[in-house]
């Protein structure tokens, strides 16, 4: 046992061409920490509303529309920002969404949606992405703020109470099934079930 430890120690101490393996390991670890941190910092920096609306496609279209909704101004002054609804909190999901988003940044650079008209043309595709993401994760991003368990049905309007009681609390439907277009204007809905 002692022998074994001594052997390892020798290997670690013995110099590589210039640096000891020990230095390389620890240095590597530190570099890892720095890069990892930097990566996550970059990730966080792109995770703000300021970043989202720094590109004019977002500022001139979806952001303007959000401003008129209850998620931007309301009686209590609590508001939702773009990443609250669009970026998952969990790390693996976050990375997956970012990779998908790089395609959207690509789209911005090469002008896929650089006018309102082009944006409207692609809008249905983009919206369907979001709807299917939210229905797959049971509207996780909505539920980060709105908890069905904490909803006091008796304080809601009769239509809300009825719908939530029969479809939400039974788990038959999730928020996005009924609450499409709460933050932005809708695309052409003629092909979407439940709309015409």
């Amino acid at each position: 046992m002692v022998e074994l430890v001594r052997n390892y120690w020798r290997v670690i101490r013995s110099p590589s061409a210039y640096f000891s393996l020990g230095f390389l390991t620890i240095g590597g670890f530190l570099a890892g920490v720095i890069f990892w941190g930097g990566f996550n910092t970059a990730l966080e920096a792109t995770n703000t509303e300021a970043f989202c609306v720094s590109c004019h496609e977002m500022r001139d279209n979806v952001f303007q529309e959000l401003k008129a909704t209850v998620h931007y101004t309301n009686a209590s002054g609590v508001r939702a920002s773009c990443p609250d609804c669009h970026v998952p909190h969990e790390w693996t999901h976050k990375i997956a969404r970012k990779v998908q988003a790089s395609k959207e940044v690509w789209g911005a650079i090469f002008g896929t949606i650089n006018t309102r008209e082009k944006f409207q043309e692609h809008r249905l595709t983009l919206a369907i992405h979001e709807w299917s993401r939210l229905s797959a994760n049971d509207s996780l991003e909505c539920r980060n703020c709105h908890s069905a368990a904490s909803m006091d049905i008796t304080q809601q309007g009769p239509r809300a109470a009825q719908a939530h009681e029969t479809f939400l609390l039974t788990g038959e439907k999730t928020c996005i099934d009924c609450h499409k277009g709460i933050a932005h204007q809708l695309p052409d809905m003629s092909s979407v079930p439940g709309w015409q």
Binding site: G157, R159, G181, L186, P187, M189, G194, W195, Q196
Partner: protein, 147 residues
Amino acid sequence: MLRYVLAILVLSTGVALAQSSIATLRGETPLTEEAEPPRMVPFADIGRQVRNYPEQPPVIPHDIDSYRIDLNSNKCLSCHARARTGESGAPMVSITHFMDREGQFRAAVTPRRYFCNQCHVAQHDLTPPVDNTFIDIDTLLSSEEAR
């Protein structure tokens, strides 16, 4: 001296009166400034209101804030369309909404009934600025009989 004082008094009340009695939508705000808009009246949850005559578009007994009706989507029809009423519990738009101007009944709500807010308004608890002497036909008939 007294005459001058009186004259000034009369003049100044005249100006004051003129200022406050001219009713305009902008009130007394100078032309160079924007008038403060009147506060929005919140929706009044006073239950479903009885129609005053059969042809009256019923007033909307629920909040319609942020319900968009445009080329792309019609939020109202997502509850009031025939096929949606089972789930939403809303009354179906009546058959007149399917009738085009030739009197033909179409498969879906006709374009002339697409923009619901043209005819239906959400309920508000207001005192009308102009008095209205309308009485409905039942009241009229029963007062006729009484006579």
